[in-house]
Amino acid sequence: MTGFRQAQSPDAPTPHPEAPGKRTEQLSMQQALNRALDEVLAENPKAVIFGEDCGRLGGVFRITDGLQAKHGEKRVFDTPLAESGILGMSVGLAMAGFHPIPEVQFDGFAYPAVNQIICQIARMNYRSRGTLPMPITLRVPSFGGIRAPEHHGESLEALFAHVPGLKVVSPSNPHEAYHLLKYAATRPDPVIFMEPKSRYWQKGDVDFGAADAPGAGSPAGAPTGAKVMREGRHLTLIAWGAMVSRCLQVAGLAAEDGIDVEVLDLRWIKPIDADALVASVRKTRRAVVVHEAPLTSGLGAEVAQLVTQGCFDTLKAPVERVTGFDVPYPSGDLEDEYIPNIDRILFGIQRVLEYKRG
C-alpha cells in the first residue's frame, strides 16, 4: 500500500462532475466502465482509446460504445488485429505525451503483446531515469465464465504482477469498476486493468461520491489498496475480480452454518495491500485465498506468504488456496469444473476450520 502511494501523481485529482442529488446510480459493469472512459476523455485531452473494434463498433463487450461518436475518431479508434502493434503504438504515444488507454480484446490475446508490455512499457521509465514515463492504462477483459473458446478465459494477474514496473488491478463490481478505472487512467505509470468479463452484465449501485472516489477529499482520496466487502470474525476469504462475488455468496452460506466469514477484495493485485491482508487475518486468524488462475505460482502463493509473514503467531491453520487447476484453461463446457465453485470454496473453509496442530 505504501509503495503505491509513492507512485501517485502529485496533481490533485479533478472533482467529480456529477450533479449533487444524483450521486448514486444503478449501472451494469459495462455501463460503469463506459461512463468512466467517457469522463476520462472529457477531462484529459491527452487520453486516447484504441483497440480491435473499439471505435466504430464500440467494443465486443460494448465498453467503448458511443465514445467514438462523442469524442471523435482521433481519440477513439480501431486498430488492426495486431496486439504487439497496439501496445507498441501505446509506447510511442506515451513518449509523445499522450495517455493511451488501449484494449486487448481478450486476455489470451495479450500474449502476442507481452514483448512490448514487459520489455518496453514496464521498464521505459526506469531505463530513461524517469524522463519517459509510460502512463498507459491497458484494459484486458479477463478471466473465464462466459463459455468462450480457447484464449478467451485466461487469468494473467500473476504473470503481470511478477514484472517490475507494472501495476495490476481488477474490479469486482460496477462501483469498483467505475472508480478504479477512473483512477487507473490518471496514473503516470502503466496499469494492467483486468476486467472480469463474466461480471460485465452484473448491475449494481455506483456511488459517485464514495469516500475513496478520486477527489472525494477523504483521507484515502483514492481507490487504492484492498477493501473489506463483508465483515466477519471467523475466517477471511481473499479474492479479486469475478471471484469476489462468489466469495460473498459463500460467506452468506457459511453464515447459515454459524461461520462468520469476512471477504476481502484485493482490488490491487500489484502493489498488493499487505497491510489490509494482515489486519483482516489478525482479526479472523484463518484465511482462504481464491483465484481462477492455476495453483502453482499463482497469486495465492504470494497472498499466503504475506499473511503467514504478518500473522504467523496468531494463525489457527495454514492459509488454504482454492484455485483453478494446473492445466490449460478448458473449453467452455468444462468451465464449471475448473473455476472454483461454491462447494470447493466451502471445502477449503472446512479444511481450515478442521485443522489440528500436530
Binding site: 451494469s28 459495462q30 466504430r56 464500440g58 465486443v60 463487450f61 460494448r62 481478450f106 465464465g145 462466459i146 463459455r147 468462450a148 473458446p149 478467451h152 468479463k197 463474466s198 460485465y200 452484465w201 452484473q202 471467523h234 455468496q249 459463500v250 452468506g252 452460506l253 457459511a254 452454518d257 454459524g258 461461520i259 467452455g332 461454491i342 462447494d343 466451502l346 471445502f347 473453509i349 472446512q350 476450520l353 478442521e354
Partner: protein, 109 residues
Amino acid sequence: MAEISFPLPDLGEGLIEATVLEWLVSPGEQVERNQPLVEVETTKSAVELPSPQAGKVVRIYGGPGDKINVGEPLIVFEVPDNTAGIVGTVPKEEAPKRRVRLSAVLDED
C-alpha cells in the same frame, strides 16, 4: 435489453456514401439475421443490405432519396442483454447452490 447500432457498411470500390431507395423493414419489426433490410444505391450499383443479426428494429435512418455516409448509423436494433457480446454467453445469475455444509467448534481463544 440493449441497443446495437449498425452503421452503413463499407460497400467497397472506395464508395463513401449511398442513397436509400426503400426500407424493407420498419421500427418495431422483429428481423432475422440475413433478412434484407434496405435497398441502397451507390454511384456504381444498387444493393440490398442483409441484416447482420437478429433483433427488433428500434430506429431506421434516412428515407427514400436520403444520402447516408459509410460509417454513419443506418439502423438500431434492440437485442436481449445476453446477446450483447460477440464471443461466449452471458452467465446466468442463479441463487447459490451448495452441497457442502460447514461444521466447526470455534474456540474463541
